[in-house]
């Protein structure tokens, strides 16, 4: 039992002893993760809209309109991601 307790203490305290210092990533990385999630969700929406069209739930005209709107939203997210990545890379122009 003492061995188990010692092992637990050793494992749990390892990060405090092992020089794993540093702060949690800045807010921008959290924002990057959220934008990435939003981008993936938007791509999923674009695919869903196409599948809705191909399975007859949307007319071609309705699908085209939705697809255009969704792609515009995706573009906006990509722009924000580019800006963020440009900032995280030390500034300069946003990546294309």
């Amino acid at each position: 039992m003492l061995v188990l307790a010692a092992a637990v203490v050793y494992v749990v305290s390892a990060p405090l002893r092992g020089g794993r210092s540093g702060r949690l990533e800045a807010e921008e990385t959290a924002e990057h993760a959220e934008l990435t999630a939003a981008r993936d969700a938007k791509y999923s929406e674009i695919r869903d809209a196409e599948l809705d069209f191909r399975t007859g739930k949307l007319s071609r005209a309705d699908w085209k309109a939705q697809d255009q709107a969704l792609r515009a939203e995706a573009i906006a997210i990509l722009r924000r991601l580019d800006t963020l990545e440009g900032r995280e890379d030390g500034g300069g122009r946003p990546l294309s």
């Binding site: 039992m1 637990v8 540093g22 949690l24 969700a41 791509y43 999923s44 929406e45 695919r47 792609r71």
Partner: protein, 731 residues
């Protein structure tokens, strides 16, 4: 070993408390080392609890009666299969199972998110460790699984409750507890997201597999409980709106609502307040369900009886509710929806309605479950609410729910025009009308309008699902050269959430069809029959052929029970259909005041149901033998054995041999000259559809849960990224 088990619990408690502090400190200070240490605390808690779990299981398996729990819930005659699961037939053992599962799932999610959700995860870890600390402290201070048997060690344990000797009962608690503990994962991450105001889609995406797994496990647990009730309990039903049944259903209902409405948040940034409220409510309901079983506060066949755990659980629930409400209110500005509904005719609307119905059902179940308690608190007298009350309010809501299960898949996201709706719903609607006509004309189903409505709506759902599959396959084949089977596989593989969901809806349609048919058209009667006599039920004739009597010993040779039963023959229109066997098993009481023979009739008794299950209908019967005629022989036998024991002329081994002979003689005398036995006879249509529907739901859930192949995801993502990038260049 008792000491080792207790020590593991104390260690787990200490590490949990440390982990809460380390995680919170690391999160507040932004210090990765403390956050990592808090995460490792979760792993260490899981490890300690696993050791404790293994110690207790080993004690059950080797029938170590120095463990009070083993002596009170197992015996050497309990089959090995059930000795393994006897641990969670007890209050203390089930607490240990709950905490161990919580540790395992918590470790998994924190391992998977170790490089992401870096602001949210530490708070989630703190919440999960807080739950662990609560449950472990219950075991350390109040209901320890590692209590030592007081006094001399008994030669034999009390044994497992015979009602629980059923395969479903082996799996039912681990499934339920897996569901409850998995629901604490999205709960904890929702708290973390609210605290850190990181209320985007990332925490939802990361916890979605756990939410879906929770829903799946809890659903399986609920269905296994129903199956056990139907095949073991001897009343012929599968759902009685029992408080503990309801306790497991409520988080499943709100979890189902959350799984739907969260899609609106992911896609449109809508319903953020609703979603966090739902997931927090689901977590609280999971704890509430655990509370209902632990405290014995409501009468139930399942409850462990009044215990010391009621107050701590109430405090925890109070803290969870107050904390959740405070967090949601304080973050209301961050939870504003990004978009509004584009149209009433949209999948978003259907999901919203579906949510309202599911929450409405949950509210009805909640009110009906807690009404006796509220009534007692207010008026001093305990009112009871039975199945008719529940059915009156839930049946119409269930009808709407099934109908929405068909509408949802057939309607587009954002906006559907009337022309689109006509195109997608006409086929399934026509199919439903055909079914309606067939039932009215062919089956003569006219006097049960609610059941008829359910059949028609289920047909509509079935039509929608198959239409969606067919159209998707056609679209897939238009884009590739796949054969039909390959196109089906490819379509589902690329759209697991969507088509997994459709398969679940199909399963729900089957399940509710079975429930409606077996509820509305069941025929039941109780009859007294002597051997050779028959009774009619529906179109069947059930004949009592002969009685049976048997003494059963366990694998180690010790007497386990006496079985008194019946063989029946089922026929229809003169044609023999099945031979059925039902029995009542009498297990001996361990109380010292009973004699060696009478203790078999003073202990637990279970019924073995005779079931002839078919796709169209089930014939169900159970026997209640009349043992009053045996009682004079039982008394005389006790007197003879008492005299022999006092005389001291017979050894223990010789007494055991004579006891077996006496019991066999008793069983044989019942079989040779039986009094009339009481039989409950039931014919239930389409019960098998309930279990089949549950399997389909399970397969659909598994499909939705299965991770997409990463290569395909990358290729698709890259292709779309390129397309969108091209658009960006032209914009």
């Amino acid at each position: 070993m008792l000491t080792l088990g207790r020590a593991c619990l104390i260690l787990a408690l200490a590490v949990s408390v440390y982990g809460v502090g380390a995680s919170l400190y690391g999160a507040r200070k932004g210090n990765r080392a403390w956050v990592a240490s808090g995460r490792r605390a979760v792993y260490a808690v899981a490890g300690s609890l696993l050791v404790a779990f293994a110690v207790l299981e080993a004690a059950f398996l080797r029938s170590d009666f120095s463990f009070e729990l083993v002596a009170g819930h197992s015996s050497t005659t309990t089959p090995l299969f059930y000795r393994f699961t006897a641990m969670w037939s007890s209050q203390e053992g089930s607490l240990l199972l709950w905490a161990t599962l919580l540790g395992l799932w918590s470790s998994l999610i924190l391992f998977l998110t170790r490089n992401k959700l870096r602001e949210v995860a530490p708070y989630a870890a703190a919440v999960l460790l807080g739950f662990a600390a609560f449950f472990v402290s219950l075991m350390v201070f109040l209901e320890t699984p590692f209590a030592r048997t007081l006094g001399a060690l008994p030669a034999e344990g009390v044994g497992l409750n015979p009602l629980l000797r059923h395969p479903s009962m082996m799996i039912h608690p681990p499934m339920l507890y897996s569901g409850y503990t998995l629901f604490t994962i999205p709960f904890a991450f929702a708290i973390g997201a609210l605290v850190t105001r990181r209320l985007g889609a990332e925490w939802i995406r990361s916890t979605r597999p756990f939410t879906l797994a929770a829903w799946l496990f809890l659903g399986i647990g609920v269905l296994l409980g129903s199956r056990w009730s139907y095949t073991e309990l001897g009343w012929g039903g599968y759902w009685a709106w029992d408080p503990v049944e309801n306790a497991s259903l409520m988080p499943w209902l709100t979890g189902t609502a959350f799984l739907h409405s969260v899609m609106l948040q992911e896609k449109r940034g809508m319903l953020k307040v609703w979603n966090v409220s739902l997931v927090l409510a689901t977590g609280v309901l999971a704890i509430l369900g655990t509370f209902l079983v632990r405290s014995g506060i409501l009468d139930s066949i399942h409850a462990f009886g009044a215990s010391t755990l009621g107050v701590p659980f109430l405090v925890l629930i109070g803290v969870l509710v107050a904390g959740s409400v405070a967090l949601v209110v304080s973050r209301s500005r961050d939870l504003r929806s990004e978009h509004r509904l584009d149209s009433v005719f949209s999948r978003e609307s259907a999901f919203l309605l579906n949510n309202l119905v599911l929450v409405g059902i949950c509210f009805v179940v909640f009110w009906g479950t807690f009404f006796p308690l509220i009534s007692e608190a207010v008026s001093g007298s305990k009112a009871s609410v039975g199945p008719p009350w529940f059915n009156r309010y839930i049946t119409p809501l269930a009808l709407i729910l099934v109908l929405l299960s068909g509408i949802g898949p057939a309607i587009a996201w954002r906006r559907a025009t009337l022309a689109n709706l006509r195109r997608t719903m006409l086929g399934p609607a026509l199919f439903a009308v055909v079914v309606l006509v067939a039932l009215l004309v062919g089956a003569g189903v006219t006097d049960k309008p609610l059941a008829l409505a359910m059949f028609v709506f289920a047909a509509f759902v079935t039509g929608t699902v198959f239409q969606e599959l067919w159209r998707g396959v056609k679209a897939r084949r238009a884009m590739s050269d796949d054969s039909v089977p390959m196109a089906v596989v490819s379509l589902i593989r690329r759209n697991r959430r969507r088509y997994g969901g459709y398969i679940v809806h199909l399963g729900i349609a089957l399940l509710f069809t079975g429930i409606a048919a077996s509820s509305a058209f069941q025929q039941a009667r109780d009859v007294d029959l002597r051997p050779g006599q028959s009774a009619r039920i529906g179109s069947y004739v059930v004949t009592y052929v002969k009685p049976t009597g048997e003494v059963v010993a366990a694998s180690n040779g010790r007497l386990e029970r006496i079985d008194l039963g019946a063989v029946l023959k089922v026929s229809r229109d003169g044609e023999a259909l099945a031979t059925m066997r039902s029995r009542r098993s009498f297990f001996p009481s361990q109380a010292p005041e009973f004699g060696p023979i009478s203790r078999f009739f003073e202990g637990e008794a279970t019924s073995e149901v005779a079931l002839d299950a078919g796709v169209r209908e089930d014939v169900w019967t159970v026997v209640s033998p009349d043992v009053r005629g045996l009682l004079p022989s039982v008394k005389e036998g006790d007197r003879v054995f008492a005299a022999a024991r006092e005389g001291g002329k017979l050894s223990r081994a010789e007494m055991d041999v004579l006891l077996v002979q006496a019991l066999r003689g008793l069983a044989a005398s019942y079989a040779s000259d039986p009094p009339a036995a009481t039989f409950r006879l039931i014919v239930s249509p389409l019960v098998t559809w309930i279990w089949l529907g549950a399997i389909v739901v399970f397969l659909g859930g598994l499909t939705a849960l299965w991770p997409a192949p990463s290569g395909a995801t990358r290729r698709v993502s890259a292709a779309y990224a390129a397309r969108v990038a091209r658009e960006l260049g032209r914009a």
